[in-house]
Amino acid sequence: MDYRNIWTMAEAQNGKLKEVSFELLSRGRALADKLNESLVSVVIGNNIDKEQLDQLIFRGADEVLVVEDESLDDFIVETYSNVLVDMIKEMKPNIILAAATVNGRTLMPHVAMRIHTGLTADCTDLDIEKDTKNLLQTRPAIGGNILATIKTPQHRPQMATVRPKSSKPLELDPNRTGKIRYIEFDRSLLDNRVRKLEARHDQDRNINIQESDVVVAGGKGMKKAENFAMLQELADRLGGVVGASRDAVDRGWAVYPQQVGLSGKTVTPKLYMAVGISGAIQHLAGMKTSEIIVAINSDPDAAIFKVSDFGITGDLFDVLPLLIKKLNEEVKA
């Protein structure tokens, strides 16, 4: 098989590259070095300035392939898929990594189907198998209860989406050099069926719990919506965002994009703080791979304590105000 090189898909929004584009490069770099192949960052979008493209090189890419057009301003899966499929057929990459974001998890399966290859969703670990040089893709499945390692032995490219925040970008190295290449595309590849009419970035919906280093989550123990203000205050002190259990979302104390768990989002922040959350298996599925877990609960037998690095058994209405007060003093000191 003459498939070579590792591609990572950069993600842009309004002409700005998202952090995850750089996280993918650090994943890709490790694989490229093991295989002795080139690392290529693929940018599909519009108006991405040269400085940002340089950043991709400084953070690990050997080459940047840019496809730019006004019509690529908006993510329309059919169009992006047409462009990417075309590039894959022409350039035959060995591995393609994309972010396990809303758009990455839409584009990659669309592309994988059309070029008839395997795709592994939401990987947390990637490696190269010694003898075969196949990509080993590890992902949590069944609500995080198992880790499955998957490979794509007979088909190329090998494709995976990678969980955001599961790796850190490489240190910026301004001495790294690489090629930036603009790719022409045939306008017949534009999809004219789906049209984006508008985007709405609601204030209270503007919470990306998967991107944040700190998530302070509340459950039924919070008793009512107003009490979530305390969590917000705590989250603000810690530079984080507020998440919630399903019970809290179902009661309308928080919105669905804040829900952590099996039927909500999976988060892997540096710190996850569970306040008044019992730790039902479906909730644990969404947060138990967090780096540090802190729990506050009045029930010493709450399941959440089993996965906690630090637990306080007590009334959250005592603990939270005091904790916020102490943190405020820390800031002043």
Partner: protein
Amino acid sequence: MDIIVLIKQVPETSNVKMDPNTGTMVRDGVESIINPLDLYAIEVGLQLKEEHGGKVTAVTMGPPSASKALKEAIAMGCDEGVLITDRKFAGSDTWSTAYILSAAIKKIGNYDIVLAGERATDGDTGQVGPNIAACLDLPLGTYISRIDKTDCDKIIVERLLEEGYEKLEMPLPALLTVVKEISFPRLPTLRGKQRAKKTELIVFSAENLELDENLTGLRGSPTRVVKIESPKVMRNGIMLSAKDEDQLEDAVNKLVEFLKTKEII
């Protein structure tokens, strides 16, 4: 408006066992339910039917016992149930599953909207919906949180993003994957249950479908599971209690210290 809803049968609990040799799930002895996220798709289908007329067909691929999921969907209000079942299909990954479901959808024909859940709670990939849209070349909307407007040839939907929402307009037929926000699933009714008992399911096997059997089942699947591990969950962390003022003070102080050593603050 004719609607196809794709539903998957999944194990009841998230505590299922895996066969370490094959890397597939041990389904014996585990109660099965409709993938909870597919209930929202069923509900949307039923609402569209109530508004525009037509019929809702629930489709599932799985072992013969998956007929239970279809009966449940009918009890909720779906008109028909299609079971796609064949030994040859066992072990299909998302590519092959989508390939087989696409063949079935083609055979059913005459649909305006195909609905799927955001993802299944067992495999947890969320790939089958977009796969099928690609296979059938249907316009695709993923993570749909609201249907704004629809008539017989076009639909306007809202899509949930990381940072908000976007509105998309597309012609029908189209495929939508839906998120929880879109609806509140109804419960099966007694009358529905009785109707479900009487409704004969449509069954497709490999022979009934136009497909290349080499592309189905384990043989046709590009991916292979090579290893299954159970990560350990117990962390044995520090536990403090805050039953009185002194304990409270001490516990919170220690928590602040802890956060400092972990460089959170």
